[in-house]
């Protein structure tokens, strides 16, 4: 086991493309850290640099207290699980597990003991004499895990290891990996684009975008206190509704939040966590409301406590329903915050409501808003402190 430290690490390809920009990140000994982000954000590159499969253009990479920039993958004592498993197709499961042990020159007796131990942990004992093509996707995934754990490495690296599995198997193996890591206590770095994997598996999650680390925090902190609009929009499904607004103080001293031509009364106590809010009154801002912040309004709601919308479409999921409504104001997508063009409809407000048979498409609806769940950002997409 070992800690891992990225110290001002850069990755610049010969064509000038910067895949990683000034990555600073410390991973504790025994921690399960997940890199998450959209395609091309640099998460896999960071992992491959840690594996020794990509050169480091600048900065230092430490495993334990060793600088490993110039070390081969073998010298780094890491093990990796690849997205397509990369099992050796001509070898049996036993031979696949044995290969890394032969490379470190263990005696045949030690090798067989290690293989038996790994097979026991992962339920592979019955499959040892089969070849990869005779295994199901889930079994192949387990063999790939087995090949990683059999060496007892200092760090496990996993590059989207569940992306080739169906939803049910993914959920099952997700739990198995988390349990295995917990049992073995080996430092693990896991890459995924799936935020559910990131949130459920990681002790901490590093959100990446355009080669830069956006936020490093526990899953709950990412959800509760996103550092910027990108993280706010990326974490949580369906994504947070983010829209331009202004926070104004009325003559009576009440706080009002503009939502297009509608407004919401804000209880100052509900947003007391924003200590610098006074500086942003009457200034252009971005506001965020998660779909969970909405509920169906009572028959006679207090004034300025709900939004009047028209339901465009709905997805009934049994225990709850997702409402897609015409928003009173243009929405901002996380992709826009990342500087990318978004082709999503930006005038849709998404709400997650308790199942309700009285809600139908193309009908008006009053949505009550829990303003204690309001997020505020500056117009340059950073969270207000």
């Amino acid at each position: 086991m070992a800690s891992v430290s990225f110290q001002d690490v850069y990755k610049v390809y010969p064509n000038g493309y910067s895949a990683i920009k000034k990555l600073c990140l410390d991973i504790q000994d025994g921690e399960f850290l997940v890199f998450v982000g959209p395609s091309g954000c640099g998460k896999s590159t960071a992992l491959r640099m840690l594996a020794g499969l990509e050169d480091i253009s600048a900065g230092k990479l430490l495993i334990g207290d060793r600088v490993v920039n110039d070390q081969t993958p073998q010298e780094r004592n890491i093990a990796m699980v690849f997205q397509n498993y990369a099992l050796y197709p001509h070898m049996t499961v036993r031979q696949n597990l044995e290969f890394p042990l032969r490379m470190i020159k263990l005696s045949p007796k030690q090798r067989q003991a290690r293989i038996a131990e790994a097979a026991e942990k992962l339920g592979l004992a019955q499959l040892l004499d089969r070849k990869p093509k005779q295994l199901s996707g889930g079994q192949r995934q387990r063999v790939a895990m087995g090949r990683a754990i059999v060496r007892d490495p200092a760090v496990f690296l996993m590059d989207e290891p569940l992306s080739n599995l169906d939803a049910k198997m993914r959920s099952q193996i997700r739990t198995e990996i988390a349990e295995l890591q917990d049992r073995m206590g080996t430092t693990t770095v896991y890459v995924t684009h799936d935020q559910v994997e990131a949130m459920t598996m990681g002790d901490r999650v590093a959100v990446m975008r355009g080669g830069e680390l956006q936020q490093l925090a526990t899953p709950q902190d990412l959800y509760d206190s996103p550092a910027n609009v990108f993280v706010a929009g990326f974490i949580g499904s369906p994504a947070m509704n983010i829209f331009p607004t202004q926070l104004r103080k009325t003559a009576l001293g009440l706080l009002m939040l503009d939502v297009g031509d509608q407004r919401l009364a804000i209880d100052p106590a509900a947003i007391s966590r924003y200590s610098t809010l006074a500086n942003y009154l009457d200034q252009p801002l971005l506001a965020g409301l998660r779909p969970e912040a909405f509920s169906v309004a009572d028959a006679n709601p207090p004034p300025d406590s709900c939004l009047q919308v028209e339901v465009k479409a709905l997805e009934a999921l049994g225990h709850e329903m997702i409402i897609y409504a015409q928003a009173p104001v243009g929405m901002i997508q996380a992709e826009e915050a990342a500087g990318a063009e978004s082709d999503l409809n930006t005038s849709t407000l998404v709400a997650r409501l308790a199942a309700n048979r009285n809600i139908h498409a193309h009908t008006p609806l009053a949505l009550a808003v829990d303003v204690s769940k309001l997020y505020l950002f500056t117009t340059d997409y950073q969270a207000i402190g």
């Binding site: 594996a51 020794g52 499969l53 081969t72 993958p73 073998q74 890491i78 093990a79 990796m80 690849f82 997205q83 397509n84 990369a86 099992l87 050796y88 197709p89 001509h90 290969f99 890394p100 490379m103 470190i104 090949r147 060496r151």
Partner: protein, 299 residues
Amino acid sequence: MQDSNIQLNRTDHSQSEPVIIRQRRKWLGAIASYLLLTVLALLFVAPIVFMIIGSLKPDSLVLTEAGTFKAFLPGQISFQNYRDVFERVDFARFFFNSLFITSMIVLAGLLVNSLAGYAFARLRWRGRSGVLLLVIALMIIPFEAIAVPLFFQVTLLGWRNTYIAQILPFVANAFSIYLFYTFFIDLPKELEEAARVDGASTLRTFFEIIVPVAKPVFATVAILTFLTQWGSFLWPLMVTLDEQVRPLPVAISSFQTLPPIQWGDIMSFGVMMVAPILIVFLLFQKWFVEGVASTGTKG
């Protein structure tokens, strides 16, 4: 009511006609294509059948029946021609020479060309694309164009009338390198990366991971090289002086220059020369087809 019935019947009748015509056309098309394929197959097989039948006939009948249909009928079977070959020349010597030269070219070629193909496909080195382009360009240069300069080179080195003169110039082969290159470039990189992470060196990765996965392309290159080299005639004729190092194709030509010309003997020599090729092809046929499919090579 009656009118509409009549209308309906007419419509049914007009719809059923094209179906029959279509079916008939389909059958005719199938018959025509099978006929064409059969004729082509007969054309390709005829010389081989002629050679095998001719080798079993008394020498006098081979030429006299050559222009008739009887050339393809065994008649009275005799192995005299085969006995004659062994009496007239040292067939075993020629056979050994051919087998040794071809096997050495195939084995050394597999090693050298696969490593070269791998270096082009996977290793990053200065000038790689330029050299690859050169290798591809070399494929279009016919051997005859370089035969004379090569002959001078071999003479200068004192290699005339040796095995090495017949082996070394043919080990590295641009076409084989290209075949290996196209196969390796399509292999998933993760296999090699997994081996690197597991602690294998580049060479060990190549021999323990890549070679077993690349069996089809190895078989393809082996067969293609074997076929080309087994029938090689011009170069051995240029660099060999006596029977000690001469391969089969040069030996068979001596039957046509040494009187009396015995066509039966030539046929039986031909049969014994072609047999190993057929055996090699049949042994590796499955891999060969796989290899051709995976490398996108034709023939």
